[in-house]
Point group: C2
């Protein structure tokens, strides 16, 4: 029986997961499990690199993110959910890969560049932040991931990882490391409820999977629509209208949605009615997720993470042994 | 009973050890053992950073360097001799420290700057090479080293390590990490037999501890003296004269040596007689070391390195657990 291909995904536990994650990746992970050998990483080491002086935030969200996973239906009997810092082979792999990539190459990485602009600590980039793509290469290769679902902005990271794979295999005359294929998310990024940027944990413009009925309702009521659309009878714009962006992502009747758009553009559909519809749609989606979430105890989460981390460590240690042997490090 | 202070030293296994190592550090390590809790690291990970494309060289010299240690009298019952790559906690510690030091700080490091000039790959500095001081901070702190004997050129590395210690303890509000004190080698660097630069594994201008009687004799005969000192009766220069530098380091009768210098300066002492004296001195020193070296089997070396690495791992893992707990990483 041929082995199933490995799919690696994950999230930084720097905040609760939101609808952007759901539509961009979580839904897809649930669909993939069983068909692929899925690993989902709670990337606490990565999160710490961007939040080294706020570890409390990471500590809290390791469990919360895992609860989100379980609540949306990621099944730990089919998917290995693990904590990055518990897989010690990853640290050692990254160290050997550091020798195969130049500082100049890392500084050219557009994802890093963009994040640097965003974070306003360009003057003070830490070594941990700069070398993040090397750490990611360790994650990908440790599990011999064949597919890595990513957003478009993550493509350069996969490229660095594959460069490291090729260089490693060439320098050490081996084929133990495998290149991975980036799989682009089909759904475009979900905008924030402010309509301006992508939904983001840090910008607080997202609807979280763990939000209560009231908070969801309130957030939807505050959503950005079309500031020129004042009276119900005014013609309204669809483009840039966050409510329609969310309906596009979550409303399950595409034909009905087309009719609503036509009506809105012509004039005759109020924001209030539209938001009521979106609220119903989102409450229907998140209701069962919230219910499942509330039934999950911290102990359950810890058990899932520990079992997953032990399994992930076994796989990663096997790869590390191959890597050490390919380099030819001393062993007794 | 108060615990003995920890002393950490080590060498990159990129070539056999030579008289420069002996006079600069090995001799001192033998003197320190018993009085201090000594750790001696065979730094294969560090060596690999500078020789990633020549791992065979590292592989060979891990054992050879350990033989040198045992041959000069480093006693594995008193000193923990270990292999860096076998202490996996070091990789993880370095990763957390990467967040506490900026790329700019690492690039300013004079040791790195100098090595870059020397290595002629400045255009292509690897991440592993740049982050070497962080890796060294992991080595030092893992064992809570109080003293680190170093050459003057290594002082900036100790400074980076202590900066990381202070920042870690401040950011994570702890005192688990300890600053280390650099202890400068008392003996100045031994020049190469070419008289020009320091004795160096890579420049092949050194007398190795494992050299045979004939090779030692031949190297001493080829040593740089004073090119203006042609006839025995010519006045000769002491300064820059490699033979006198070696006699300064190894000849055990300082008064006798002063008389020889006076005679040489005045004219009346030939290079040949001088080299015969140095040859006798060095053969007397290295004879018993070579003999002991030849009696050490690869199996003995492997046993010593494995036992030492297991012990070092226990200590380093204890520090890592404290570090993880200070950061507050998730644990089940």
């Amino acid at each position: 029986m041929p082995q199933k291909d490995v799919v690696l995904t994950g999230d930084r536990p720097s905040g609760p997961l939101h609808l952007g994650h759901y539509v961009g990746s979580l839904r897809n992970r649930v669909a993939l499990q069983g068909r692929y050998n899925c690993f989902v990483m709670v990337a606490d080491v990565q999160a710490l690199a961007a939040n080294f002086d706020n570890p409390q935030r990471i500590r809290t969200h390791v469990r919360e993110v895992c609860k989100d996973y379980l609540a949306v239906g990621i099944d730990p009997t089919k998917t290995t959910i693990f904590v990055q810092s518990r897989v010690s082979a990853l640290f050692e792999l990254a160290t050997y890969y550091m020798n195969l990539v130049s500082v100049a190459r890392l500084e050219r990485n557009p994802t890093i560049k963009e994040e640097l602009q965003h974070k306003s600590f360009a003057e003070n980039v830490t070594a941990g932040f700069l070398t993040h793509p090397v750490s990611q290469a360790a994650d990908i290769t440790a599990f011999k991931a064949r597919y890595v679902p990513v957003g478009e902005d993550q493509l350069p990271l996969i490229e660095v990882s594959n460069e490291i794979v090729r260089k490693f295999n060439r320098v050490y005359n081996t084929d133990v490391l495998k290149e991975a294929e980036a799989v682009l998310d089909k759904v475009q990024r979900l905008v924030g409820i402010d309509g301006k940027t992508k939904a983001s944990k840090s910008l607080q413009n997202a609807i979280f999977l763990s939000d209560s009925v009231d908070v969801i309702k309130q957030k939807i009521q505050s959503m950005y629509t079309d500031p020129g659309h004042i009276k119900v009878t005014d013609p309204g714009k669809i483009e840039g209208n966050a409510v329609f962006a969310y309906l596009d992502a979550f409303y399950e009747d595409p034909d009905g949605l087309e009719n609503l758009k036509t009506l809105y553009k012509k004039g005759g559909l109020g924001d209030s009615a539209l938001k009521t519809l979106l609220n119903e749609t989102i409450q229907t989606l998140l209701g069962p997720i919230r219910e499942r979430r509330q039934s999950i105890t911290d102990d359950t989460v810890d058990d899932v993470l520990e079992a997953g981390s032990i399994h992930a460590s076994e796989i990663a240690s096997r790869t590390l042994a191959e890597v050490r042997s390919a380099i030819g490090l001393w062993h007794p």
